[in-house]
Structure formats: C-alpha cells, structure tokens
Symmetry: C2
Subunit: 354 residues, 2 copies
C-alpha cells in the first residue's frame, strides 16, 4: 500500500531525511550530523541524529561514501523524497514570461539553414562549430498590432523586416480593451520606422501625453519593442558540438573547459570576433592563439569563413578548437560548408524571383 510506504518513517526520521536531501541538493557534499543540528526544525543533539541516521541507513534511505564522511541519500532516499517529502514549487513570473516568449519565437530561413550547417560542420571537422548572424543596422518595425489576451496580459505583434515578431506582455493592473486600442494606435502613429535608438525620452513623453490615464503603459511597451529590435538585429550566435572539445587533451582539463564554456555562454566576445574583423569574405580566415585578442582563446584556434548572399556578407560559420588543429582538413571543410550555405541562400533567392 502506498500509504503504508508513506508512514514507514517516523516524523522525525522524515524531517531528518528531508533535511539531508535538501542540504545535499544544495551543496553536493555529504552531510554530517553536526550540520543538521543547525537546522531549526530539528531540535536534538548530534548524537541523536547520528542514531537516527544509522537507522535510516539500515533501512536503505541513506548511504555513506566512506566511514568518515557524512551521509548522502541513496536512490531509495531520493525516491521517498520525491514521492512524499517534496514541497510544491511555482515558477516565478519572470520565468513564466521567458517561457511564453521563447515559445513564440520563429526561426528565420537563414537560421534554419545555419542550424543544419553547424551540425554537419561539427560532425565533419570534429570540432565545436559556431555561426553568427551579424548585426543588421536600421532594423525597424513597420506595423504594430496589440492583441488583448485577458485583463492582465496582451500580445504585442510587430511586423519587422517582413517577419512577424511577437512579444508577450503582462501588467499588474487591469488594462481595458480601450487602452489596448489606444496604445496600438499611438504606436502606429509614432513608432513606425524607428530604430531602437530613435526612441528618445521626448518622444516617449509625447506618446505618454497622448495616452492620458494610460501613460504608464508606454514605457514598458517601448522597452519590449526595443528588446525585440535588439534581439532581432543583435547578431545571433549558435554553437554546436561543445562535447567535441572533450576529444582533445588540450581541453581535458576542467579549468580550461569551463573557461571555454563561459565564453560560449556569454557570446558577446565571440560575436565581436566573428563580426568585427575586416575579413576578405572569399577566403577562410585562420586566427591562431593570441591573434584572437580574447584571453580565453590564447591557446585556441578559430577558423571561419563569411557567408554571402547576393554579394553581401550575411553571417559567418566556423569552428573553434585547440591550436593543435587539423588545419588542412578543417580549412577545406569550412570552405565547403560556408560555400554550401551561401549557395543554398542564393537558390532560395532565385526561387523567390520566380
């Protein structure tokens, strides 16, 4: 019986088990009897706790890695914890919003091709592959719609560069449908054809004036617009095959590996490297070690090539790896992949023309 299972443990044992699992989840270290005495819910001495822990161990809920370490939960311990001791957790608003927004996002044609190209580049070269779409200047919204979902939330729909972008909005107060309409009108009146930096304070104040009682809506919406614009033209960076790093003894070193992953996580530096260089677009670029100017890449080589469409550079694709890299294979591969992506884009163009 399930309820049998639940009541197998005394309340104090449950408390101690829960405390141990919680502490272990938080720290990762085995937890000893002394540590638990600090827990306010547990009001007995370390010796008592030790006795209880010994019993929990013999029941199979705890184990000790070695004699002189603390206890860690066994799998059965985790199972009991998950089934009976778990608190409920509710996502924060910020988390929910992030979730909703990301599910709205649509990939562009180029993004989709880059994704495939990256996967094949990583596979063929056996190095971590990276692609970027550089910043596009002067991206603007050509039309706004505002869709009211309920009293507290709406969807901002923008036509930007021929593509529909949506942004989920939420307020703490009730927004009437009149307010929604008014805001949409104001946006189409004032904010069409503007780049992110065109949204100046005077402009925002003028919009607020026109909104009357609903002036407080303007600034968060403008923020959302600017975020969308910057996310759209703020060059996107994709990475594939981080695990390839592990294949090389150069990165078989956790400190180094972690630094590299931090670099991938942050993306800014890489974006700059790929975008900023005065590249000859028709050639594969090779940057070795300190030529990369970013400290973390002191011992790494970056090999990439620009992707062109209609004669213009629209991105770049390449790999990153140890300076000890199989240059001749990688250079040839990246050359071909970049050309392939460019060709795929061109063929799309011609399809559109017909």
């Amino acid at each position: 019986m399930i309820s049998d299972n639940k009541n197998k443990l005394s309340d104090r044992k449950k408390l101690i088990l829960k405390a141990i699992v919680d502490a272990h989840i938080a720290n990762g270290d085995p937890v000893g009897s002394k540590l638990l005495t600090r827990n306010e819910l547990i009001s007995c001495s370390s010796a008592t706790i030790r006795n209880e822990m010994a019993e929990l161990e013999s029941m199979g809920y705890l184990e000790q890695p070695h004699t002189s370490a603390g206890r860690i939960p066994s799998e059965a311990g985790y199972r009991f914890y998950v089934d009976w001791l778990l608190d409920r957790y509710n996502l924060t608003r910020a988390e929910i919003d992030e979730l909703k927004n990301s599910l709205q996002k649509k990939q562009s044609e180029l993004d989709s091709i880059l994704q495939s190209a990256l996967a094949v580049a990583a596979k063929l070269t056996n190095y971590t592959a990276i692609s970027v779409r550089p910043k596009i200047e002067k991206i603007t919204v050509s039309r706004y719609e505002l869709m009211r979902l309920d009293d507290y939330s709406s969807m901002l729909i923008m036509l930007v560069g021929g593509v529909v972008k949506t942004k989920y909005l939420r307020s703490n107060t009730v927004i009437s449908s009149e307010a929604t309409h008014a805001l949409a009108m104001i946006l189409n009146m004032y904010a069409v054809g503007l780049t992110a930096s065109d949204f100046t304070m005077p402009l925002i104040m003028e919009m607020e004036q026109h909104m009357g009682n609903y002036d407080f809506l303007v600034s968060p919406v403008v923020k959302a617009i600017c975020m969308t614009l910057s996310e759209f033209d703020g060059g996107d960076l994709k990475i594939e095959g981080v695990n390839k790093l592990l294949s090389y003894p150069e990165f078989y070193n956790l400190e180094r590996l972690r630094e590299m992953l931090m670099l991938f996580e942050k993306k800014d530096d890489l974006l700059e490297i790929f975008s900023g260089k005065p590249t000859e677009p028709e050639k594969v670029q090779v940057y070795i070690g300190k030529e990369n100017l970013v400290k973390v890449m002191d011992n790494s080589t970056l090999i990439f090539k620009a992707i062109t469409n209609d004669g213009k550079t629209v991105g770049a694709i390449g790999v990153i790896g140890p300076t000890r890299m199989d240059y001749k294979r990688v250079i040839a591969t990246i050359d071909n992949v970049a050309n392939g992506v460019s060709a795929a884009l061109e063929s799309n163009n011609s399809k559109k023309d017909i």
Copy 2:
C-alpha cells in the same frame, strides 16, 4: 615582403618544422628529436635535428614546455605552417554528400518549437535538456520527382507526409536524362504509398526489370528512399545545454562526463528511454538512478513529460542531471514547458482550421 618570409627558413628547416607540426597535430605530445629520425623525408641524425630545432626555437617557431620535453610549435610556428607548409585537402565524396544532404533538410513546425522549448528548459532549470519526437509508423512517399543536376548527380525529391524531402544522389557513371525520366516513372508506378519495410527484394527485382539497361540504378535509389523514410519517422532527438553538466561536481570528472556525452552522441538509448516507457502523459515522470536501466545513467536522474497534440502523444521533453537534482524546481519547470509546447501546437491546429 611575403616571399621574404617564406624563404626565411632553409628547406631542411621547413621540412623539420612541418614534420614537427604534423606529428604534434596527430598525437598532441611534444615531439623529440628521436621521433623525427623515423620520418623518411628527413635523413640526418637526431643530433643534427636537435641543432636545427634549437635554431628554430631561437627564431621563435618552436618552444619547449620544459627542458626535458620535446618541442611543440609556437603560435608563429603554426602561422608559418598554415601560411606556407600546408598541403591541400579535398573533401571525400562521402563528406561532400553528407554536406549537401544536410543543407537540404527542412525543420518541421514541431521541430522548431521544440528547439526553442529546449533552449528555455535548459536555461530555466540549468540542466541539460532533451526532447524527442517518437517514431511515426506508416510514413510513406506519395510522389517522386527526379531532378537531373549533371551527368553524375541528381536530386531525388519526395513528397512525404505533406512535406517535401530531398536527397542528393551521385553515381560513378554517366546517367542520361532518359534514364532519369524512366526511373522517376517507375518510382511513381511502384513505390508510392510504401513504408520502408514494404520494399521487398521481389519488388526491387521487378522494378529493375522495367529499367532495362539502367537496372543498376534501382537499388541505390531505393536505399536512399528508405534512408529518408527512416530518418523522417525515426524519432528525432535534440539536446541542448550539454555544458550545464559542468556546473555540477558530479560531472566534474572527465570520465563520467565523457560517458554522458557518448550517451548523447549515440542517441539510441535515450530515444528508447523516452519513447518506450508506458507513461501517464499528463504527469511529469521522474526516473532516479538505476531505475533508468542504462548503465551510464546509474547516477543520474531523468525528468520528463510527454507533449500532446490533439490528445495524442507526439513527443517528450525533459532534462537529465545528477541524482542530486533540484527536484521541485525542475519538476515544476518541465511541467510548464511541456504544457507550453502542447498549447503552442494546439493553437497552431486551430489556426489551420480557420
């Protein structure tokens, strides 16, 4: 002057430098004078090589990690190697084919949503996120086109489940355009509405008979068709945020990390785990440690939830991490993400209905 640079080194120095770089690229170890004497192009003793190496080092092309190790190329050494000593490498046919095929691939609606959902799941939970589309039975091609590109290559275009799939084909002999046409006709005659397992040997032989002199074309094309079908319905598995593993001391162990990455690489096992379980689709599933049956995951926890569309399970999304996992947060997050994806799919349905 560039040519100056090229001739800064004597031919023997170039030979030795190239040999050192090649050897170091291959092994990763510092290379000593003795090893180089085995190179057939170098016909002098280790002592001579040592002298040359000492000179190359003083010129800045080599360095030694410590006195008693061999030499490794410096950045300048790599630079010289890349600029002047590199052999040309041509991609193999297999590599070129793989490249072309992967650039043709189109993502489905579900794939695109899953991609976004994965990214946000990995970010919110801070664990590695995984999604699967399970096998779809009975997927068939409803129409074939064959586009001749040149004497040796064609594009096989298939309409499968309402989606266009293409496959790049190449032969060693010249294929006339008549042959291409005949093949396309035969395919549409015999091979429409068949699943991969419907392609039996007798059928293939019958098709070959109708192809006359071009019978040798049938079997490779059928292979390509079957590959496409299996790739289409063979459940797809995506992974995001492998680097998150590094955040946890449990994986701060290169052996463990590598095993996990191998698991991600192979995908088969994971696919089975996600797909095979008799899940209650409305609940978040938690598998702890050995409950996972796959050896590598002995110390890991898998948390996932099914994604439904129109009442049917169309996939699953979840995370994998150490058994010491922040269960309450992860369970809540996965619950929300999976629901979000399901909802996004449903809303697409209703759009289509209108």
